[in-house]
């Protein structure tokens, strides 16, 4: 792999910048791989990278139906945080957050990680008690979380409606300063380039249409580019988890729903942190280009339609304007939708499946982007060693039958309640 550096840029200036190589190859599939990963999103490519770099597996293919990063990795709001209440979740996401902080150096690719702080607003005494409890839980696990007073919040985000008559009066907030945003495409490209350099075959425009099985064991996959053999197959397809697992005759505790987001025209810096709220479900941040990026609730019914419809956007926009009235003057220029794999307890599934050699990484609901490095590490550990990663032992599929769900919101087994 040709390393990117300032020196290479300067040297290239003398030769008309004609020395740049392809960032990754475009190989034809081989007959057989040790590991096939279905899905060339951030999670799949990160899995391939850590499988090659940490577990020494070199004969790996990542199969992608379309182009890499064209699914949910390119359809989110790029928020990165680890401020969950439950230890099983915050310890796992914190492992990822630590990786985010060194990711650009690790991959030799600028993922534009911007730890600008996650500001979680509280609007009532109840909210503030829950925020204090969450902050305590984080600090007990050695993760940062600071409770902010009303005055501190007003100083940090002066455009928030801090008046007593606000639709959602702000009493304070919990801030996780090490959280922030990253550039989604760069994460995909960085992992793809680094994985390719370790010999991983990234095969695009290659749709999986079925599994080959023998004696209760997966032996390969059927694809639009022919049959490819494999010792182990890892499904990593987000919203399409149910569809792909269905090809192996497996039903999952997952319901696919659409999640939308939208962005305004670019303006000068006005929102410095990522603003979220305990009582209002919308999240507000400003992209490096200046657009205000907004998201809210999923569409709350099963859908594989990767397109937007207005009621959830209207809801999120109304909530955002109630928090930051100045946003009302902005025009929305783009909306998008991704298919999220809503699990029945709101937590991910990183697990072996009932077919030998077949594994699943899914159920990320609408929180998958932040998990990209941690998900890759944990799934690579499972595919490389056959054992769950120490921080992901709770995320196996059997937790539902054992009654050991990891239910952050406490809503019970309803996928649409997250």
């Amino acid at each position: 792999m040709q390393r990117y550096s300032a020196l290479a840029l300067v040297k290239g200036a003398l030769t008309g910048q004609k020395h740049w190589q392809r960032a990754w190859r475009d190989p034809s599939p081989k007959k057989h791989y040790d590991v096939i990963i279905i899905g060339g999103g951030g999670h799949g490519l990160a899995t391939a990278y850590y499988l090659a770099s940490r577990h020494g597996v070199r004969n790996i293919a990542v199969l992608e139906k379309g182009w890499i990063g064209g699914g949910n990795t390119g359809r989110n709001t790029t928020i990165v945080r680890s401020n969950y209440r439950q230890p099983a979740l915050h310890n796992f996401f914190e492992m990822g957050l630590k990786l985010w902080h060194g990711l650009s150096d690790d991959l030799n690719f600028n993922v534009m990680f911007s730890p600008r702080g996650i500001l979680l607003l509280g609007h009532s005494d109840g909210d503030m008690r829950r925020l204090a409890e969450r902050g305590d839980a984080l600090r007990t696990s050695g993760i940062d979380g600071d409770l902010l007073s009303r005055a501190e919040v007003a100083k940090l985000e002066p455009l928030l409606d801090m008046s007593e008559s606000a639709r959602f009066p702000i009493k304070g907030a919990l801030i996780q300063r090490r959280g922030g945003t990253a550039r989604h495409d760069a994460v995909v490209w960085g992992y793809a380039r680094a994985a390719d350099a370790l010999g991983v075959d990234i095969i695009q425009n290659c749709a999986v249409t079925g599994f080959d099985m023998a004696g209760g064991r997966v032996t390969g996959v059927q694809t639009s580019k022919g049959t490819i053999g494999a010792d182990r197959v890892g499904i990593c397809v987000a919203g399409h988890s149910g569809h792909v697992a269905g090809m192996a005759g497996i039903r999952l505790p997952i319901e696919s729903q659409t999640l939308q987001a939208f962005v305004s025209e670019g303006v000068k810096p006005m929102v410095d942190t990522v603003v979220q709220s305990m009582s209002v479900h919308c999240y507000i941040s400003q992209s490096d280009k200046g657009g205000i990026v907004l998201g809210g609730d999923p569409d709350r019914f099963p859908s594989y339609a990767q397109r937007t419809f207005l009621p959830p956007i209207e809801q999120a926009a109304a909530d955002a304007i109630a928090l930051i009235p100045a946003l009302s003057r902005l025009r929305i220029i783009r909306t998008w939708a991704g298919i999220t794999d809503m699990s029945f307890d709101g937590s991910p599934i990183i697990s072996p499946l009932p077919v030998d050699g077949l594994y699943l990484n899914g159920g990320w609901c609408y929180g998958g982007f932040k998990a990209t490095p941690a998900s890759g590490v944990a799934y690579a550990h499972l595919l490389g060693t056959g054992e769950s990663h120490p921080l992901a032992t709770g995320f196996t599929l059997d937790r539902f039958a054992r009654g050991a769900t990891i239910d952050e919101s406490g809503d019970g087994p309803w996928p649409e309640a997250r």
Binding site: G242, L252, A401
Partner: protein, 85 residues
């Protein structure tokens, strides 16, 4: 926005309706515990045609059986829950 043809009220905006459950997740009373668990905790989650229980919450409040396509979002049929299809 989509319209859903409520058999009682006629075509109405989707925002008036709530999705409740997919029909493959509804457990009949006489089901054995193990089968009930399997039904409750797993879904076909089909990419294509599906059958679901919906409610016209902000209209006539009737419970409806909807046959839908999860890719095109077309509503194939809407009948009152419990009525013969």
């Amino acid at each position: 926005m989509q319209q859903i043809p409520c058999p009682h009220c006629g075509p109405r905006a989707q925002a008036e309706f709530d999705y409740i459950r997919s029909l493959d997740s509804i457990v009949p009373l006489e089901t054995a515990p193990e089968a009930a668990m399997a039904t409750l905790w797993a879904r076909d989650n089909p990419r294509g045609e599906t059958a679901e229980l919906w409610r016209h919450s902000y209209g006539c409040r009737q419970w409806l059986t909807l046959r839908r396509d999860t890719v095109s979002l077309a509503v194939l049929s809407a009948t009152i829950w419990g009525a013969q299809a």
